[in-house]
């Protein structure tokens, strides 16, 4: 009896040999922390998605999704954002290879497609407001403008960050801390894509389907 217990205890302690080697390096910590931050950002969007789902039918006698949404324009928007993200991926590779020219070019392409996306979105918003379908019109439109607008706001702030990163690389080169920030920026930009896929599906496609 006691022999088994002892053997058990022994195997127990073997299983608990220190496999953990201490604090992770800065790149891992930064990337990991930024992912946690992005998850919290996703929760904000989750709340806005929930609000949209609750209010989508509350049109208050105003226009509903199928009367407003122009899927063609949204498809172009989506394409622009995806291309922008692709370019952002290229910028990461260029940064990894420490190619300044490649990095600037790829970031510029990222910015251009980002701007196209924003332009189309602003155009869409402007068109809605012009038709008397602004966010004050109904609960549905409030939720729509807030959800899509919040994503747009993220893209706008991302653009600000993008140019700051270009300036940082120009001034400081590919230092370790700059590389970590480039990593975070690209995580951010890709996360916006994930959100957009959700918006495209749950807002536009589903809205028109309703």
């Amino acid at each position: 009896m006691s022999a088994t217990a002892a053997a058990h205890a022994a195997s127990h302690s073997v299983a608990r040999m220190p496999s953990h080697t201490g604090p992770a390096n800065k790149r891992i910590v930064t990337g990991y922390g930024f992912w946690i931050f992005l998850l919290s950002d996703f929760v904000i969007f989750a709340s806005l998605f929930a609000a949209f789902a609750v209010l989508v039918h509350n049109t208050n006698g105003g226009p509903g999704p199928h009367e407003l949404f122009d899927l063609k324009s949204v498809a172009v928007e989506t394409g622009a954002l995806l291309l922008s993200t692709y370019a952002c991926g290229l910028a990461s590779i260029a940064a990894h290879r420490r190619s300044a020219i490649g990095f600037y070019l790829a970031m510029l392409v990222t910015a251009i497609f980002g701007a196209v996306f924003l332009g189309l979105e602003i155009n869409e918003f402007y068109g809605f407001i012009d038709k008397g379908a602004g966010p004050q019109r109904s609960g549905f439109l409030s939720a729509f403008f807030t959800l899509v607008g919040c994503h747009g706001l993220h893209v706008s702030l991302g653009m600000l960050w993008l140019f700051t990163m270009i300036a940082q690389v120009f001034a400081k080169g590919f230092r370790d801390d700059i590389q970590r920030r480039i990593l975070c920026f690209s995580l951010f930009w890709h996360a916006l894509d994930i959100i957009w896929v959700g918006i495209f599906t749950a807002v536009y496609l589903y809205g028109v389907y309703l």
């Binding site: 931050f37 919290s40 609750v54 409030s142 807030t146």
Partner: protein, 666 residues
């Protein structure tokens, strides 16, 4: 030019808030002048305001929390006295003032009292217990603190400039919409919480990353002290729940500022969506408050029982179970919405289920005392008081989770008594236990035992005398937030309750005396060794106060009770472990980023509240420029040479070697 801000914003016609505001403003001014005259400003700026040291930030969090707890307590005194006198009369507080007071009381106590206290303790303790030098993002940590302080400042500013929310600690629409609350009160509430909320989320991100990625070698998950587990759970809750609050308040703000229709009566809004969203954050919030307190007790009870915590794995499992179930019970805050039998039954049952892991924790502390040698120091007094009080609070909580019982008690004084029973009895007792327990680690001397004991007795007695009568009036049908009432049966209980406030006040005064006496007699209360309580976890292995870098060399952990074991081994062999090889240590440099960014955040919040749009723009540019300036710096770290490390550690070892002779191993 100044938006809605005019001289009307200053309540010249209302003597009570004006006088209170003037006194506070004068006190702050006096303190500032005193500090300046004494020449302490450079020291404060260098060592505290710009510090990115988790220990300093932790201390500042706790200091802010104590200040705000006192402000909230003053509100409580006003509410209790008002309800004591406002029987068939209007008392001394008109409704528009009384409603601000209970709203401010709840907001301040939860967001700027209890939460910063817990976050402060986590800040101070977690890296020390994990055996590391700092949190994952030290500068971000400073930003978090100063944003919290910024929110607290805005809430207190509303005392003198404008008004505070009059809709309760949660601004339920449509009452909080522009139609029914046209003043700036709700805006103060929302912007203060948005700003401090950003700080809280960043804290959550920081601590989840720290606990998951920055631990001493060998510190596997199942070797972390329970406090680190509860901190992990609380911060996971922060990361997952606080963004919901941010989004919900943003929607309310859009309704108020731009005429959106999220929660309005008209235009297709849905007020019950607010209830669902706010409680989807609000229920996890109470576990954000209580879980770290559970962690404190899981440190205090084993230490003063002279035993490891009983059922470590159960404790971990219970903590994580609470963390998960916390998200599945929000609807019990509005059973009376009339959602139907199935919905109410499911959420009622889920709420009752949370009592299981919580009960397990109580039993495990109980069995930690079993077979121990319990020393009734001040932290232990708080802990035993907690176990009893929290069990009672848990009982009434589960009672409220039974829908038909809730139909009678929802929104009543019974509910008020219940949540104070768990939040005061759990979080506040835990905060005070933790403060007393870790005070010597932070400052190098203990708090005076005798005075602290009396403070605890009075506060605990005061708590019971205040809140037990509220259970009774709740059962007599008294609803909460009544500015006056005409029911004779409630009156005597209100008088008893106000007497309890007096007892609690004595307790608080005694706590201040304790701190004063302890500072005065600090030489006789000095903790030379760094282990005043015969502790078991890693924070007690370093000096008190710990050096900036915490540990001369990172420990190599090989057991749950690693420090306890090496301490016993050293005591048995009467020799300290071998002297390590010291190397240079890199530590992050101080940064004004947090302070400056919070300055701009405060300005932006104020400008938004009063619709001063140009100032909003200026503040945004300022905040952005601050971060760019931070990103532009070339030197992130400074080096502490190995000789300095060695010198400090030699002093620590000498003190330990001396103490070793007097220590008898267990």
């Amino acid at each position: 030019m100044l938006g809605k801000l005019t001289w009307d914003a200053i309540p010249f016609d209302q003597p009570i808030p004006l006088a209170a505001g003037a006194v506070v403003a004068l006190a702050v001014l006096a303190v500032l002048i005193y500090i300046t005259v004494k020449g302490w400003v450079p020291y404060l700026w260098r060592e505290w305001i710009t510090s990115v040291d988790h220990k300093r930030i932790g201390v500042m969090y706790v200091a802010l929390a104590i200040l705000m707890l006192m402000r909230g307590f003053i509100d409580a005194v006003m509410m209790r006295t008002q309800q004591a006198v406002a029987f068939r009369s209007n008392g001394y507080l008109p409704p528009e003032h009384f409603n601000q007071i209970f709203s401010a009381h709840g907001t301040i106590m939860i967001f700027f009292g209890a939460m910063p206290f817990m976050i402060g303790l986590m800040n101070f303790v977690v890296p020390l217990q994990l055996g590391v030098r700092d949190v994952a993002f030290p500068t971000l940590n400073s930003v978090s603190f100063w944003l919290t302080a910024s929110g607290a400042l805005l809430v207190n500013l509303s005392l003198v400039v404008g008004e505070f929310s009059r809709t309760g600690w949660l601004p339920f629409p449509p009452l909080s919409e522009m139609t029914y609350s046209p003043g700036v009160g709700v805006d103060y509430y929302c912007w203060a919480l948005q700003i401090s909320g950003v700080g809280t989320v960043l804290t959550g991100v920081n601590f989840v990353t720290t606990i998951l990625k920055i631990r001493a070698p060998g510190m596997t998950y199942m070797r972390m002290p329970i406090f680190c587990w509860t901190a992990l759970a609380a911060n996971l809750l922060i990361v997952a729940a606080f963004p919901v609050l941010t989004a919900t308040l943003a929607m309310l703000l859009l309704d108020r500022y731009l005429g959106f229709h999220f929660f309005t009566n008209t235009g297709g809004g849905n007020m019950m969506m607010f209830m669902n969203l706010i409680w989807a954050w609000g229920h996890p919030e109470v576990y954000i408050l209580i879980l770290p307190a559970f962690g404190v007790f899981s440190c205090v009870v084993p230490t003063f029982s002279g035993k490891p915590v009983f059922g470590y794995r159960s404790m971990v499992m219970a903590t994580m179970a609470i963390c998960l179930i916390a998200f599945m019970v929000w609807l019990h805050h509005f059973f009376t919405m009339g959602a139907g039998g199935d919905v109410n039954a499911i959420f009622g049952t889920m709420s009752a289920i949370i009592a299981v892991p919580t009960g397990v924790k109580i039993f495990n502390w109980l069995f930690t005392m079993y077979g121990g040698r319990v020393r009734f120091t001040v932290p232990m007094i708080w802990s035993v008081a907690f176990m009893i009080t929290f069990t009672v609070g848990g009982l009434t909580g589960v009672l409220l989770a039974v829908p038909p019982a809730d139909f009678m008690l929802h929104n009543s004084m019974f509910l008020v008594a219940h949540f104070h029973n768990v939040i005061v009895g759990g979080t506040v007792f835990g905060a005070l236990a933790g403060m007393t327990y870790w005070f010597p680690k932070a400052f190098g001397f203990r708090l005076h035992e005798g005075w602290g004991r009396w403070s605890a007795y009075f506060t605990i007695a005061g708590f019971y005398v205040v809140f037990m009568p509220l259970y009774v009036v709740g059962l007599e049908g008294m609803t909460r937030r009544l500015q006056h009432y005409d029911v004779g049966a409630w009156r005597p209980w209100m008088m008893v309750s106000v007497f309890g406030v007096l007892l609690a006040l004595v307790g608080i005064v005694l706590e201040i005396v304790t701190i004063y006496v302890s500072i005065r007699d600090r030489e006789s209360l000095r903790d030379e060794v760094g282990d005043p309580w015969d502790g078991r976890t890693l924070e007690w292995s370093t000096a008190s106060p710990p050096p900036e870098y915490n540990f001369a060399v990172l420990p190599h952990v090989d057991h749950e009770e690693y420090y306890w074991r090496i301490k016993q081994a050293a005591a048995r062999s009467e020799t300290l472990p071998e002297e390590p090889h010291y190397v240079d240590i890199e530590m992050p440099r101080n940064s004004a980023t947090g302070f400056v960014a919070a300055f701009f955040a405060t300005v932006m919040g104020f400008a938004l509240i009063w619709h001063i749009w140009w100032m909003v723009g200026v503040a945004f540019v300022g905040a952005y420029a601050t971060f760019v300036a931070f990103a532009w710096r070339d030197h992130e770290e400074h080096v502490i040479p190995a000789e300095t490390v060695a010198r400090n550690d030699h002093a620590r070892r000498a003190a330990r070697a001396k103490a070793l002779k007097a220590y008898s191993p267990r």
